[in-house]
């Protein structure tokens, strides 16, 4: 295998690591903010389930990323490198600003930007991009509805239960399960995006056939990278997710994580790359909205929405410039 291919695989795994680091907050914000787990134990818990996701889910999302975003012929080592660079730079900018944006959409925007820089807008695959675009809007709405319906369901089932202390203890334990489920969904959907990029790279460099499925070493490497990223995860976004959008109790934590986990399981099985960040944010807003709409701090939620809107164009532009630079230097 050529040195350039190994280098870009390293960058892809670096992106996966940053993804875990950036999104660690999503997996653990609610368990930490409700004080079910200490931050240190929470990241170990989340990282473990990030890694084990490969045992449960296939590679449908990886295939979508590798084959449904841009025409395969245009994918080269330079395009994939520039796409990854754009996504990583965008992720780091939004991480620095404390915004829970989507690493997934940064990746899609990045790959699209680099491919367009190489061969123009004709290389974009409308059908695949439309599927991803529709679910950019649908995934937070599904998460919101799930969080809200589960919260109402839990309230309805337990409304006659008078031992509040015991009930809270039960939900604190329940959060361990729901956080694990969400981390499993996060590992499945997000690690697969890196698997897709590496698969595209292997196909582009002639190390795999165009109809090949993802090799096992790629699956293991991607899940290890995201798990390690989560293990060293950052804290800026925990604050935004865990307390600034709405104040969460253990019951709300269980509803938010379960709602988001169900959404991620379904989309991962269907091969749809969605944002874990969007999904859990929607679910947290849903939990707040179950009480009353004013329980949601819409100013923060609105800031988050703007960051989402800018992610694909932002990563697209950075990757476009990076590809021009790579092209100029080579």
């Amino acid at each position: 295998m050529e040195l350039s291919v190994i280098l870009v695989i390293g960058v892809a795994l670096g992106f996966d690591y940053v993804n875990g680091f950036h999104d660690a907050a999503n997996s653990i914000a609610t368990v930490v903010s409700t004080r079910v787990l200490s931050p240190r134990i929470a990241v170990i818990w989340a990282a473990f389930f990030n890694f084990t996701a490969f045992l449960v889910f296939g590679d449908a999302v990886a295939t979508t990323i590798a084959k449904d975003v841009v025409v395969q012929d245009v994918l080269s080592i330079g395009v994939i490198f520039a796409g990854l660079a754009g996504a990583i730079v965008w992720d780091l900018i939004t991480f620095w600003l404390g915004l829970p944006t989507s690493s997934s959409h940064a990746l899609v925007g990045g790959i699209a930007g680099a491919a367009v820089a190489k061969a123009g807008f004709g290389v974009l695959l409308a059908e695949g991009l439309r599927k991803i675009g529709v679910f950019i809007i649908l995934s937070p709405l599904i998460g919101l509805a799930m969080g809200l319906v589960l919260t109402l369901g839990i309230y309805w089932v337990f409304h006659r239960y008078r031992n509040v202390e015991r009930l809270n203890r039960g939900f604190r334990l329940g959060q361990l399960v729901s956080a694990a489920a969400f981390s499993l969904g996060h590992g499945a959907n997000d690690a697969q995006k890196t698997m897709g990029i590496i698969l595209a790279l292997l196909i582009a460099s002639g190390h795999a056939a165009s109809d090949a499925s993802t090799p096992l070493w790629v699956v293991l490497a991607a899940h290890t990278a995201i798990g390690l990223g989560t293990l060293t995860g950052g804290w800026r976004i925990v604050k935004t997710m865990g307390s600034k959008i709405t104040r969460l109790q253990p019951v709300g934590g269980v509803a938010a994580e379960s709602g988001a986990a169900i959404t991620l399981f379904a989309t991962s099985a269907a091969g749809i790359p969605v944002s874990t960040t969007h999904t859990i944010t929607g679910a947290i807003v849903g939990v707040g909205a179950a009480r009353r709409l004013s329980a949601v701090r819409w100013g923060v939620a609105g800031r988050v929405v703007w960051a989402w809107v800018l992610t694909i164009p932002g990563a697209f532009a950075i990757s476009w410039l990076t590809f021009q630079l790579v092209d100029l230097l080579s």
Partner: protein, 53 residues
């Protein structure tokens, strides 16, 4: 009409707009839209009953 019901109604409209764009996943947009319609109705009835109390 209460703000929450309006919000849910807006979400339902967004989902229904997405139906023709969703190709093989039109049923997902449609189902989520219907869920938001039900939530809007429930929220409106809830606010109405609170006003009457």
């Amino acid at each position: 009409m209460d703000r929450r019901a309006i919000f849910f109604l807006g979400a339902a409209v967004v989902c229904f707009v997405l139906v023709p764009l969703s190709d093989g996943y039109a049923w997902v947009s449609l189902t989520v839209g219907i869920v938001y319609l039900i939530l809007a109705l429930g929220s409106w009835l809830d606010a109405r009953s609170h006003r009457r109390l």
